[in-house]
């Protein structure tokens, strides 16, 4: 997709993230490298939801962490609003961070147990000085309302909430700085089906209302298919297939995508029996 960068909010150009494998303690030497992300190029336009699917170890989380510079890229360009994040200094990166936020899988681990809901949601706004402390309560209440949490919970601690509610808190925190791009890494994998549905509806509504750009990472193709406009399939650090969500799921082209889609059990006994027969 050449020329797409004009409209693209995020453009990845041949991004590589390698991890050295070292041996020895005192005289540490690199014996090999793990190519976690190995030459990924991807354009994401404003307001688009791109799903990133793949199995464990395919590099999808490392790619997410690389985009927000939680891992330094080994090579390549990460063009976000036409600035190359890969080339920014840590200080410059700080000024970009409010505009790209992450939501993680485990809402039990991603929230500080010693911070109240108010503290957790207000913290990013206070750190980046977008609100004054005395105005923060109003802003936090507004955010809580948007993610479906009653404002009376503001002074409660994470352990007092269920997994689904914690994920709502994490989403409110991510939205606090009014980001352009959100990267959600397995946001519903730790949740039960009925709660998962609530969070998926919430994410979709927020994307629509705020014209958010979302990169949704999941191992669950059904979840990704439901929310995404386009789907990228990762395998071995590379994107092996990229296309319209329906296209990728209904008529996969790459052999790996075929294998992946073909392995998903369908909650319908007759279709499932047909799928199992087809596999043999």
């Amino acid at each position: 997709m050449t020329g797409a960068s004009a409209k693209s909010l995020l453009s990845l150009r041949d991004v590589k993230t390698y991890f050295p494998v070292t041996r020895g303690v005192l005289f540490e030497r690199t014996v090999s490298v793990v190519k976690a992300v190995d030459g990924v190029s991807l354009d994401v336009s404003r307001g688009e939801v791109v799903g990133l699917v793949g199995e464990s170890g395919c590099g999808k989380s490392t790619l997410a962490r690389t985009i927000v510079r939680l891992e330094p890229p080994t090579a390549g360009q990460i063009l976000f609003e036409d600035r190359d994040l890969a080339a920014l200094s840590p200080r410059e990166m700080r000024s970009v961070r409010p505009r790209l936020q992450m939501v993680f899988q485990d809402p039990y681990a991603s929230l500080n147990p010693r911070m109240t809901v108010f503290d957790a949601i207000a913290e990013p706004m206070l750190v980046h000085r977008v609100v004054r402390r005395r105005e923060s309560a109003g802003k936090v209440a507004q955010l809580m309302e948007q993610v479906g949490l009653a404002r009376r919970y503001m002074k409660k601690y994470p352990h007092e909430f269920s997994g689904g509610q914690r994920q709502r808190i994490a989403i409110a925190r991510a939205l606090a700085l009014d980001p352009q791009l959100i990267i959600a890494d397995e946001p519903v994998s730790a949740l039960d089906v009925s709660v998962q549905a609530q969070i998926l509806n919430l994410i979709r509504r927020l994307c629509d209302e705020r014209n958010l750009t979302l990169i949704l990472i999941s191992h669950d193709v059904a979840v990704v298919r439901h929310l995404s406009h386009r789907i990228a399939v990762m395998y071995n650090g590379k994107i092996v297939e990229l296309g319209e969500a329906e296209q990728v799921c209904a008529a996969p082209r790459h052999p790996y995508t075929k294998k992946l889609i073909g392995a998903i059990p369908v909650p319908d006994p007759d279709k499932e029996a047909a799928r199992l027969r087809a596999r043999q």
């Binding site: 509806n201 199992l276 596999r279």
Partner: protein, 327 residues
């Protein structure tokens, strides 16, 4: 005659924060050679119900308050610990979700698969080693070099899928009549999950083992189970043959669960959500435990106990409105 018949099982946990009625009057049965699926969300009691009759609930705080579990004529709930020990791992085997924590990191794979044979069948080491090797071959842990290398491997040298294969080999090496598989593929990737489910099925056909498959994944149920039991808040909401449960679910909870799956709706549509949260299990629930979240609940649902009753051949539901023909 059923191989296992669980009747009105209640397992409560006595904690500082009150009595948690984790399993509260659960009855189901398993026929020889069949696969029974038990589906439910976290905290529904699906694991505790099965750990209870196997004597694997830590006590205190847990206690089987009432009920029975007849396995081949013997009530496991009343059986002394020694008798249970002779059954577990021999006639009833288990596999768990996380094959890393379920395997002993200090023991080779071969020794772990041999162990049930040495303990339960008192066979000679050489015979146990031979049978363990055959079992590992059968579950697809091939001995590439022909020098028993697969027997000498340690768990950390294997991938998650391979470890789960070892667990299956360990569970089936004694030729059990019943295999209890608690979320056996939840920690695995989908492509590996497909392999493991196919393996369980293959071994089941070969050995005639009955399987209880505990899972939260309705897709896994659809492809592997003959009958399904749906649990919620420590009770059974519905029980039916698999096709019937999927194509004509009767209980509102079962229907809500199916509607809330992403595959149930076309992209862009809102998913169905169940309002509210599952009930606290620390207080006694008088009526139907699902009533506070149910779109079809009437006053009677909150007052009258919901008891599992037949609504068709082999099809039971605990919804009183369905039983009375109101839904």
């Amino acid at each position: 005659m059923p191989l296992l018949e669980v009747n009105d099982l209640r397992t409560w946990f006595y904690t500082r924060n009150g009595t948690v009625r984790a399993v509260d009057g659960v009855s189901f049965h398993v026929e020889p050679g069949e696969t029974l699926g038990i589906v439910g969300e976290s905290g529904s009691g699906k694991s505790v119900a099965n750990l209870s009759y196997l004597g694997l609930i830590p006590s205190p705080p847990g206690k089987i308050v009432s009920g029975s579990a007849h396995f081949d004529g013997l009530d496991l709930v009343k059986a002394p610990a020694g008798v249970l020990r002779s059954i577990r791992g021999k006639r009833i085997s288990m596999i768990f979700q996380d094959p890393m924590t379920a395997l002993n990191p200090y023991m080779t794979v071969g020794n772990q698969v041999m162990e049930p044979l040495l303990v339960h069948e008192e066979v000679a080491r050489s015979e146990a080693a031979e049978r363990a090797g055959q079992m590992l071959d059968a579950v697809g842990l091939q001995d590439a070099s022909g020098e028993e290398a697969h027997m000498r491997a340690y768990p950390h040298q294997l991938s998650g899928g391979m470890r789960q294969r070892v667990m299956i080999a360990m569970a089936l090496v004694t030729n059990p009549q019943l295999l209890v598989a608690d979320e056996p593929t939840t920690a695995l990737d989908v492509t590996v999950q497909a392999q493991i489910l196919a393996l369980i099925k293959k071994m089941q056909e070969r050995l005639g083992t009955a399987v209880i498959l505990i899972t939260h994944n309705l897709g896994v149920i659809a492809g592997t189970c003959d009958r399904v039991v749906v649990m919620y808040a420590g009770r059974i909401m519905e029980s039916a043959p698999t096709r019937e449960l999927f194509y004509s679910p009767r209980h509102p909870y079962t229907r809500a669960l199916m509607d809330s799956m992403p595959s149930a709706k076309s992209p862009g549509e809102d998913l169905y959500t169940i309002p509210g949260l599952p009930p606290e299990l620390t207080s006694e629930i008088v009526g139907c435990p699902f009533a506070p979240r149910c779109a079809h609940a009437v006053d009677a649902c909150r007052q009258r106990p919901a008891v599992l009753k037949p609504v068709g051949p082999e099809h039971q539901t605990a919804c009183t409105r369905v039983q009375e023909g109101g839904l």
